[in-house]
């Protein structure tokens, strides 16, 4: 019998824990993580459900979820978990795994921002804020959309206001160790 959407990876939990430990198997579904989560309103699976999917080997369902990308990394869940499950750290691990396995994210803009940020660090060794947003809008394909909707003007106005208030650095300042930093930022295997 063919069942779709229920392919089980029986070795998934072991693989996850080998990268941690994250103590995922300690979860007894008390939902304290979910009850304190400020981003739960934007999630398709609640944090406790994500942990459950991991335990049940539902790797694909989990890695395709919106939840792992809209997690704000506020660490409230990990802090309050009575069993020491590193929930927020697991969300990071799943994002990285989804990127490595080239799984299409339902939140391309969130992923684009993270990738742009790391590209930006590669330029000078530090974040050069003057280029961060333009790079992000290009990468996430928002420029056309923003031009059509007219919201590009709002972004330009914000940039101008920051500049006028002396809060926008226009000159990148490369550090001496930027080759070292670039080396650190090689995509991990």
């Amino acid at each position: 019998m063919q069942q779709t959407g229920l392919r089980t990876d029986f070795g998934f939990l072991e693989k996850v824990e080998a990268a941690g430990p994250f103590n995922a198997a300690e979860c007894f579904q008390c939902r304290k993580c979910t009850n304190g989560c400020p981003a739960s309103f934007a999630m398709d699976y609640y944090p406790d459900q994500i942990i459950r999917l991991a335990i049940l080997g539902q790797k694909e369902e989990l890695l395709r979820s919106r939840t792992i990308w809209v997690c704000a990394s506020c660490e409230t869940c990990s802090t309050r978990c009575p069993n020491g499950v590193r929930i927020a750290e697991l969300m990071d691990y799943f994002k990285e795994l989804a990127v490595k396995e080239k799984i299409a994210t339902p939140q391309p803009q969130v992923a684009a921002l993270h990738k742009t940020f790391l590209d930006n660090i590669r330029l000078t060794g530090r974040i050069f804020e003057g280029a961060l947003l333009p790079m992000y809008f290009m990468r996430s394909g928002q420029i056309k959309d923003k031009l059509e909707k007219g919201s590009m003007l709002d972004e330009v106005k914000m940039g101008w206001k920051l500049f006028r208030k002396g809060r926008l650095e226009l000159q990148p300042k490369p550090i001496k160790g930027r080759a070292e930093v670039r080396d650190i930022l090689r995509p991990s295997k």
């Binding site: 409230t76 802090t79 939140q107 684009a112 709002d154």
Partner: protein, 286 residues
């Protein structure tokens, strides 16, 4: 007193007001800041989200550079940088350094969240003594955000559900910190850029509660919180269909204001949510 200083990237740009106020008050209080030579970005949310190994190694490089300076304390104004540096130090100690060349931080300086440093007993006494014009009449909500406290096994925080550092500092300045329940609720951080709709919900909720508890302004120690709460206030007011009008001060600006530092007006002029009307009414600036 000489300390090591890791400013972090945004203090060279959007958080120039924070940077200037830190330099201003430290020099008035005879604290010499020695910047980590050739420091790099800590990797921030992006690195820990999609490249764990780099997130440890980027922060570890800074720890290695900081370890070469003779000072016993390192001040970190940005709570996310603080958090990433502490996380890397913890990982190195546990032997999870991912082949990082940096040595375990045992011989490095103690890594301080800036607000916690100023709230320590000795420093708080110095802050109190430096007050020339008490900020009496100013009711503020101290907003801590996430990264200086959580997770506590990394930050070392013992009061992570109800932190007190900023409350103690503003009380020492003569202002009144209000009790409110959203001290450590998230501002949405970088979601303000990638999911502005989410960011607006996170931050609007904070404004609403701070206002209901009688606060006239918010006080922060995090430049990510400050930019989300300050730069986007007009937009969030439009989303919520309400006027909040809450200035968002760095605690270091308030220390400067209370010590009548000549730079204070300049720092505050960089804000988007104009604090001048409130300060004028409170008789703190004319």
């Amino acid at each position: 007193m000489k300390v090591t200083y890791y400013p972090g990237c945004s203090l060279e740009g959007t958080a120039r007001d924070y940077a200037d106020s830190i330099h201003g008050i430290c020099s008035s209080m005879n604290i010499e800041l020695e910047e980590v030579p050739d420091w790099n970005c800590c990797g921030a949310t992006a690195a820990h989200s999609i490249n764990h190994k780099a997130s440890i190694e980027l922060a570890a490089r800074n720890l290695g550079l900081a370890g070469k300076l003779p000072n016993s304390d390192m001040l970190v104004p940005c709570p996310l940088c603080f958090n990433r540096l502490k996380t890397a130090a913890h990982a190195l100690k546990e032997g999870n350094g991912h082949g990082s060349q940096a040595s375990p931080g045992s011989e490095g300086p103690a890594v301080w969240d800036l607000a916690n440093f100023f709230a320590s007993e000795d420093m708080l006494e110095k802050v109190s003594k430096s007050v020339k014009k008490p900020l009496s009449g100013l009711k503020v909500a101290c907003y801590y955000g996430c990264m200086a406290s959580r997770p506590p096994h990394i930050t070392g925080a013992t009061d992570h559900e109800n932190p007190q550092s900023l409350d103690r500092i503003v009380a020492a300045l003569g202002a009144t910190p209000v009790a409110w329940p959203y001290k450590t609720d998230c501002c949405g951080a970088s979601l303000m850029l990638s999911r502005p709709d989410m960011g607006s919900k996170f931050v609007g909720k904070l404004y609403d509660m701070a206002g209901r508890m009688g606060a006239q302004a918010l006080v922060v120690s995090c430049q990510m919180c400050q930019s989300n709460l300050d730069m986007y206030q007009e937009k969030i007011e439009a989303d919520w269909g309400r006027r909040f009008a809450l200035p968002v001060f760095y605690f270091t600006e308030l220390i400067g204001l209370a010590m009548e530092h000549p730079g204070a007006r300049g720092w505050l002029s960089r804000h988007f949510a104009d604090p001048m009307p409130l300060l004028r009414v409170a008789g703190l600036l004319d």
